[in-house]
Symmetry: C2
Subunit: 202 residues, 2 copies
Amino acid sequence: MAGAIDFYFDFSSPYGYFASMHIDALARDLDRSVSWHPILLGPMFKITGSAPLTQIPLKGAYSRHDMRRTARLHGIPFREPAPFPISTVTAARIMLHAQDAWPDRAIPFAKQVLHAYYVDNVNVGDAEHALRIAEESGMNIDELRPAIASDALRMRLRAENEAAVARGVFGSPFIIIDEEPFWGFDRLDMIRRWAAESGLPG
Amino acid sequence: MAGAIDFYFDFSSPYGYFASMHIDALARDLDRSVSWHPILLGPMFKITGSAPLTQIPLKGAYSRHDMRRTARLHGIPFREPAPFPISTVTAARIMLHAQDAWPDRAIPFAKQVLHAYYVDNVNVGDAEHALRIAEESGMNIDELRPAIASDALRMRLRAENEAAVARGVFGSPFIIIDEEPFWGFDRLDMIRRWAAESGLPG
């Protein structure tokens, strides 16, 4: 099997959620695994001078309409999240810790967090909600509580985010395959086109 | 035939150029005509707090790569334009004047300007280059010279741009079909999907 697909997403990115619903099918078609990377858009927006989509004049109204339309056209369950955006620091830290401590639990946790936020409108920015989902995902919550408050995990998330920026990541979803970067949910079709041109499976 | 597809583009937008190469096929599939609207991104960027793509940290490098890749994957002739971006005031004014004075010349002019800039690397921001293309497109240049310097056409372009903003337009390409807005070249596939869902031809 060729190298993994690097899938970067912020839990507070609706288009990242949409991509999470299609990434497994894409990986299957390309005969690859997926490496999930939770990122924080905040520090990236500082670099690019951007802001949460819904807060930008004109783009805000468009993006709210487009999110609902995109979900509908792709058959993805979706309720407009509120509050939006939320802090995703806790969810990201839990996922990073899980990738080391309970690797088989990390992706199911991410999927449950996304489902809770974008379908059930649970505020997963609330640490207690994030921890409850972690527990339901089979993680040891007594180990997790001190871990997510630790300097080690705080620095780890910051380093992961900086490593993403160093690879050119500035948005969510952001997908890198063999160093080829793709930004945005609407680029999944392009990835298949690019793969075909490159002679890859898919 | 149903209402026209409204196609908004800035001559200095590579993705607007890409869309211009596909818009006729899309219109044919949807059994519609196309109404071309030259816009100026500058005033829109002031509203959204945006900037020319290539000048944004991280996004700049990505977008330059993505433009070349998009052109290649879609078989669209393209040389990275330089200088970039350029002022497109003159080209937009010529097109607006032509839409009144010589309506059958307006779209061929737009296509020739885009080809000159994105294939032959002619700086169409230079008024003399824009006027030469107008002349080659069969326009009366002795009428055009005073017109493009007139307050009337200056105000007309400003009003057209403000009308676009009032409809929610903030980028290029921007396509509106039956009041449904679509931003970006990579949304042309979505338009077909949306049309199918809406029971339209296509």
